[in-house]
């Protein structure tokens, strides 16, 4: 009698607790773990140093970079058997002026050997028009166009003696999701199957990407700063996006 009373009293709050939390907790048998990605910003093989170092574009024109920021989102991993895992809510803003932003951590990833990674350079269509966002997509990050809804996917600002703009400025704000000026691009790279991304409960691998800022200005169209030094969406942004689609990121190595 006393025992059953006791049990009832104990069970009652447990039921309540579980009813409170029900929607957020889902038990799955699959093991999950963590991996990280480091984005090492460079310009044609040299470290990216903001404000001071002079680089050359493919046309041989000098330039400096003051701001370099870009979104990486919707990260998707594939296994050799063709199964894929899309990391939910994976939106990251990498900012060359903030060292901590260049190393991102992906949590709750099912363990396994992954042989391919792909992600959006920028932000998917829907989120450009969604309601107020937070985190990497918070407009406070200066990557949201307030007058023409949508995110700036890649932002590079700097100077070049060749630029005809006031103060020899370079302003490359790449974004826009509507045809014919859609700049959403996907980057994909195979991972050497001899050394795949091994996500393990007892190991947290790190992928190391080289990011070449100069890729904005070459690849499909060599850009001269004398003729193109300012773009905020539109046809010229498409030229830049087509340049960096394949050249911006390169998987250098993986530490398993």
């Amino acid at each position: 009698m006393k025992l059953s009373q006791y049990l009832l009293a104990l069970v009652c709050p447990i039921i309540l607790l579980s009813s409170c939390k029900k929607s957020t907790e889902e038990v799955t048998p699959d093991a999950k773990s963590t991996f990280s990605i480091e984005f090492e910003n460079q310009v044609n093989g040299s470290p990216l140093v903001l404000n001071t170092t002079t680089y050359k574009n493919a046309k041989g024109e000098d330039f400096k970079i003051n701001i370099f920021k870009y979104y990486v989102s919707n990260i998707k991993l594939s296994k050799a058997d063709g199964t894929t895992y899309l990391i939910p809510e994976s939106y990251f803003l990498i900012d060359a002026s903030k060292a901590e932003s260049t190393n991102i951590t992906l949590k709750d990833v099912p363990t396994g050997d992954y042989t391919k990674i792909e992600y959006t350079i920028g932000v998917d269509y829907a989120r450009n028009f969604a309601g107020a966002q937070t985190g990497a997509l918070d407009p406070i990050n200066g990557m949201f166009w307030t007058w023409n809804s949508g995110y700036i996917f890649v932002k590079l600002e700097g100077t070049s003696p060749q630029s005809t703009d006031t103060g020899n400025k370079l302003t490359f704000h790449i974004g826009g999701v509507t045809d014919p000026n859609n700049t959403i691009r996907t980057f994909a790279t195979e991972i050497n199957s001899a050394n795949p991304l091994r996500v393990r409960t007892d190991g947290k691998p790190n992928m190391h990407f080289i990011v070449n800022a100069a890729a904005l200005f070459t690849g499909k169209t060599d850009i001269s700063f004398a003729s193109l030094n300012f773009t905020m969406g539109g046809a010229n942004s498409v030229i830049v996006a087509n340049n960096y689609t394949n050249g911006l990121f390169r998987l250098d190595h993986i530490h398993n």
């Binding site: 009293a9 709050p13 309601g131 809804s149």
Partner: protein
Amino acid sequence: MLRKITVIAVLLLSTAMMYACSKNEDEITPEEKKITFSIPANFPAPAYNFEDNKLTNAGFALGKKLFYEARLSADKSVSCGSCHQQFAAFTQLDHKVSHGVNNCQGKRNTPPLVNLAWQKAFFWDGGVKNIETSPLNAITDACEMGTDIETIVAFLKSTAPYPDLFKQAFGSTEINSQLILKSITQFTAVLVSGNSKYDKVTRKEGGISFSAAELAGYNLFKEKCSSCHAEPFFTDFSYRSNGLDLVSTDEGRSHITGVSSDFGKFRVPTLRNIEYTSPYMHDGRFYSLDEVLEHYNSGVKSSANLDPQLKNGIPLSSTEKEQIKAFLKTLTDNEFIKNTLYSES
């Protein structure tokens, strides 16, 4: 004995947990009027339905306070409510264009804030695609509030009673752009105007009917105007050129789309409460409805992207103009304009 106390304690704890679960509902004091988003019977389903932004009295109250907070602007002189005045159906009386910080005169006429929950694009050029992000445009425009969201977040974090108000609205003293925008939307999306004489006649409420002139005006309106100013919002939300100028000085919609066939086009404005939303057109060039109707009668210019339906204008006799005007005044919703729930308190 000890066991009995433990049992009672555990039971009490479980009761407390039940309270914790339902805390939000209990916090609303019974005598306070519950803020609701009501859809008039003659309106379709809204585009914005508060799915990801639960409407609460505290959220609405915070949103309203932010809407009327002039200290958010660069020189602390302009709030949302400065250009969106309730007595003018939330547009700005007697201002051709919006009047921003440092006495800056904006580019376009302030649009009324009415039935925004049914709108999918905002501003005259439709550049903003979500009601929640709409305030950012006015906040950052150098000629409107002239500030940025970072400054506003910092101001609210350090200014009483805002941290408390955010706690009441969202359960945490955390203040960020998302919560600011969501609370403002709890105010602006609730601004539903659907109790005009026109609405009551349409819904056959209380034996109300149009006068002979109003009815004649309504019939003329359906024949000559409603292909663009479609019921029940009195806009079809499309972008058109109505031939104000041969060459528009404002590129309008093409600023957003980059497409030359959109040059000089603007969103068809709602006509609800039009009696109080003067001046008219994207640049506020007309002060009276007579001028507006005369434009359609005799003033339409053959601009490059002129709407095909307007290529011969809309010929109107003076009787017809008076009848249309009589009908347009049935779109005035005094319950909305005078609702103290929406007023600065």
